[in-house]
Symmetry: C2
Subunit: 307 residues, 2 copies
Amino acid sequence: MSQAGASSAPGHSLTFSDDLRRIADSVNACLDDLLPLPDGPEQRVVEAMRYSALDGGKRLRPYLSIASADLFDVPRVQALRTGAAVEMVHCYSLIHDDLPAMDNGDLRRGRPTCHKAFDEATAILAGDALLTQAFAVLSADATHPDGDTRVKIIAALADAAGAAGMVGGQMLDLMAEQSDLGEEDVERLQALKTGRLLAAPCRIGGLLGQADADALESLDSYGYCLGAAFQITDDLLDLEATESDLGKATGKDAAAGKATFVSLHGPERARDRAKTLVDQAVAALSRFGDAAEPLRSAAAFTVSRRS
Amino acid sequence: MSQAGASSAPGHSLTFSDDLRRIADSVNACLDDLLPLPDGPEQRVVEAMRYSALDGGKRLRPYLSIASADLFDVPRVQALRTGAAVEMVHCYSLIHDDLPAMDNGDLRRGRPTCHKAFDEATAILAGDALLTQAFAVLSADATHPDGDTRVKIIAALADAAGAAGMVGGQMLDLMAEQSDLGEEDVERLQALKTGRLLAAPCRIGGLLGQADADALESLDSYGYCLGAAFQITDDLLDLEATESDLGKATGKDAAAGKATFVSLHGPERARDRAKTLVDQAVAALSRFGDAAEPLRSAAAFTVSRRS
């Protein structure tokens, strides 16, 4: 969490880093609560789930679910639980992406990846169980008293995470290493791989608050632009940051010959594109007035971050 | 499917095999419908999902959801969709269990396993997406008009499939190869790894039909005993059947030094135990009278099957 504060650049509110850290503490406590260790030797898989889910990530996705839900005065516990569920899906995807058959990563957030700290089989199972636990959490009464609302949230997360969303994006990402994807495929890759799971908590915050269709559409637009800006920034960081900045290996995309917005258009145009996307994300929030300030800060943070 | 007919032993109703095959056809059509191929290069992951999900399995789990739902006159389309969702979870677990880091299987139902037909990365993603798609299917209106009912079904499946259920059982199974599990752990292994995902569709059929707590408990007891009998029979088949009977490698448990009910107590006591469990499963159905005949036949089939 300390990186978020240390990396605050001029014009990038210190308050946002404080907010993010404060919310991350609540999210960590919630995740700790939602991943209890069972008795018996099978607790090894839960140890691996906890190792990866409680590793000090920025918790940007839960922040987005909470900041979106706050627009509609949703009880904090509901927003926290949905944020924790989205974070479980994010963590499962990192565990599986790091596997030797995928990106073969040794380091994640400065620590050995799950399959290095445990073993491959345990890491596969830990990812599977985190994905499953996300839906268990969303299905419980404590997430929202109304079953119809919970089921809409489950549908939104499943859609964002599945073959038409994040997993489809990861498939494209693997194919980008082996074949020349056109610009259109690269844009879809970024929208699916990262964008969908950053947009989902924004929509979910609205669903918790019984937002109308127009408000949900605004949150979708915000989330879509934020997600695209986030992915371009990730690709820029892969090119320009050091391993110790990111807590994981850098320069992987170029080494793998992977097509990204950055490799197709160069870092300058990529930076401009990310800024334009942030402006579009902020513009999509106009209907919410001052109450959307935390979401505006999150959009600015997305491109100014150093990790 | 043809094995199911060919293996019908005396006292094991031919009608059941016909029923199972007929329902499997409907399930296959439903799965085909629920796994449409998208445009774009990411369709590779959906091809892998379809390869594994549409491979001619017996569809025992969907049969159980339909036969349980029939006790309460649930519309067939609802029971079929929940059955297809449970089958997606079953198929995802087979894809991941077959991975080199897990059981390292080359053959499944007489065909190359998913990671052999595609590649490891695609197989990992196909499993992830099948699990996600199961929850997407359950969350949709077409599964049941009432959101509260859908969310209860989602909770039941997530509980059965997660770290406290199937994934926990698979973790125990991997540990059984490396350490001496006691009899209690072996029983829990079997209850979790196979039992929970066979019991879940029985409970889900009851949930679709708004069954009362007593009826749900009867279905749980039936499913629990059926699942335990199924797992013991699986272990017996691993010892006694040939590779061409099963369409996958046999003798794996003994080769891996894995503790099972069969290795702990020998095949005779295992066979007796499986029969006792089937009797207990049948006894749990008494409240449902003649309407439960298909579930009784399924219990008998569980131990008489040859694949």
